[in-house]
């Protein structure tokens, strides 16, 4: 059908444009894909690489964990003295206390650097992010609506976005106190407030940063930064990682099959 043909050619052109750019300039610039309304087009499948989920801070290698330079600005997380004790307790009990061990929704910003691909579907009124990890979904409303009044405790928080120039700025509040920032027990309270910034640096790279504010746990806001890379392999697609169902897969298929 002609419609399918047009789609095919459109996709080819898009891939062609994407492949033509191969270097990352220092800041947002003009040679990036844009939506019909002129915004940078973040649509596509992206992935963070590195060891942020293992440990946000600079760390040596350990079993199954590569060494990492760390992603936190300044290399330290400014805990209040009383909160630091809880963080150390978390670390000691990380095998059972980390919600990742239970395959729970990992919260924001951790979902970004769980190490699994995610797909951004950008529309004028909302940007939806589909995550391969436990099929989490975020709807980031960009239609000027405010957060609903709290108190609300959501695993992934409530996300409201706005454009500051070519940067998508996402304000996230209404969290549960249950999620951590990484596997070493870095944590927050329900007062967590996250501001994420997504800036397309070139067609295949997003500069991502998240500023963390939680006066119950930290003495000041702090920021983590990393790059998100477009998955450019042919036919790349989200698969699934429904880890909470791994255990019960052994019960199925039904006996007799």
């Amino acid at each position: 059908m002609p419609r399918r043909l047009r789609l095919g050619i459109g996709s080819l052109l898009y891939v062609g444009v994407a492949v033509a750019f191969s270097y990352a300039p220092a800041r947002a610039q003009s040679g990036i894909p844009r939506t019909p309304d002129g915004r940078p087009d973040l649509s596509g499948i992206w992935q963070a690489f590195g060891t942020a989920n293992d440990n946000l801070l600079p760390h040596s290698a350990s079993k199954d964990v590569p060494a990492g330079l760390g992603v936190v600005e300044g290399g330290e997380i400014p805990y209040r003295p009383e909160a630091l004790a809880r963080r150390q307790e978390n670390f000691a009990n990380r095998a059972t206390r980390d919600t990742e061990a239970h395959c729970y929704l990992p919260g924001v910003p951790r979902i970004t650097y769980m190490g699994f691909p995610f797909q951004i579907v950008q529309m004028p009124d909302a940007t939806t992010i589909l995550y391969e990890y436990v099929h989490a979904v975020r709807h980031i409303y960009t239609n000027g609506t405010p957060h609903p009044p709290g108190p609300i405790e959501w695993w992934m928080g409530d996300s409201r976005g706005r454009w500051e120039g070519d940067t998508l700025v996402v304000d996230v509040v209404h969290f549960t106190p249950n999620t951590w920032f990484d596997r070493t027990g870095n944590y927050h309270s329900e007062a967590l407030h996250v501001v994420e910034r997504y800036t397309l640096m070139d067609p295949n790279t997003i500069a991502y940063e998240a500023t963390i504010e939680d006066p119950q746990v930290f003495t000041r806001p702090w920021t983590l930064r990393m790059l998100l890379y477009r998955r450019v392999e042919p036919n790349v697609a989200l698969l699934d990682y429904d880890c909470y169902a791994f255990e019960w897969e052994k019960y199925y298929p039904y006996p007799g099959l």
Binding site: M1, R3, R4, S11, Y14, V137, L238, A245, W248, Y252
Partner: protein, 285 residues
């Protein structure tokens, strides 16, 4: 085959004929969109069906007859039994054409679901995973149409499904996914989706209708008008059924409301409780 089905079949045939006509006249106005009242197009040419949809008669208690958990509960309290038609529209008798061994297993599963004695007696929805086609007969979903794709998003179970329209090659046969591997195409205002690579470790309803990972599903999302969607899924699985069979669910467009978080596994305790005593399960998470 009932009258509605004949009518829809007739429309489908007409649409196929028309699409051939339109194919021969590239760039000509698309008469189909006027005919069925769907005129808006996405920038990439897809019929614009973005928005929020919901089954008119939802429920996953059983397919045959169509029954929701709520209506099952009401029946037990009031003693008044209201029999809806089966969701199965083909075969015409409304019954899923199980092979004898599968019919026997299906009967056992129905007998066991309330008092499970084995882990596999517990319905998959209780364990917070719902997949294709079950997601199309109870919760509200949203359709997004980025270029070259149709994306379905459900707030319940935070499920999503991406259907590429670019005819890309199939995934390797060993990759089994809860949502399967879907390939879509538009035939006029009907989205046709062919799905393989299904994990199929779940159920079609609470009472135990099932298929295996050998199943293929062909779905037809027939956008009858801007507010009406007829969903049909034809399921083929030679391991379980004597022939392909088709279920149908009518949907209507809903107001676009915000989707708020609907976590399931994070607070899920029912499966653990209901399986207390099964194979040494203590009921502890």
């Amino acid at each position: 085959m009932d009258q509605t089905r004949k009518t829809i079949g007739g429309i489908a045939v007409a649409l196929v004929a028309l699409s051939a006509l339109v194919a021969a006249q590239a760039g000509a106005p698309d008469a189909r969109s006027v005919r069925v009242g769907v005129e808006a197009r996405r920038p990439d040419g897809q019929p614009d069906m973005q928005g929020t949809w919901r089954p008119i008669l939802g429920g996953t208690h059983s397919l045959d007859p169509a029954k929701s958990g709520a209506s099952d509960f009401q029946e037990r309290i009031t003693g008044v039994v209201k029999i809806n038609p089966s969701r199965v529209v083909d075969p015409p008798d409304g019954h899923i054409p199980y092979q004898p061994w599968a019919a026997e297993l299906r009967r056992k599963l129905e007998a066991e679901y309330e008092n499970p004695t084995r882990p596999e007696h517990i319905d998959s929805q209780t364990r917070c995973i719902v997949d294709v086609p079950r997601l199309y007969y109870f919760p509200t979903f949203r359709i997004l149409q980025p270029p070259g794709q149709v994306v379905f998003v459900w707030d319940e179970y935070h499920a999503f499904r991406v259907v590429p329209l670019d005819g890309r090659p199939r995934l390797g046969a060993n990759i089994k996914l809860w949502m399967g591997d879907a390939r879509g195409r538009w035939e006029g205002n009907t989205l046709v989706v062919e799905t393989t690579n299904l994990k199929a470790k779940s159920r079609l309803d609470v009472v135990g209708d099932f298929f295996t990972d050998n199943a293929r599903i062909v779905e037809r999302f027939i956008f009858v008008d801007p507010k009406s969607l007829t969903y049909e899924a034809t399921i083929t699985d030679e391991k379980v059924f004597t022939r392909p069979w088709t279920l149908r669910v009518e949907h209507r467009r809903m107001p676009d409301e915000e989707f708020w978080e609907w976590a399931c596994h994070e607070g899920e305790r029912d499966a653990a409780h209901s399986s207390t005593g099964i194979n040494g399960n203590t009921g502890q998470k």
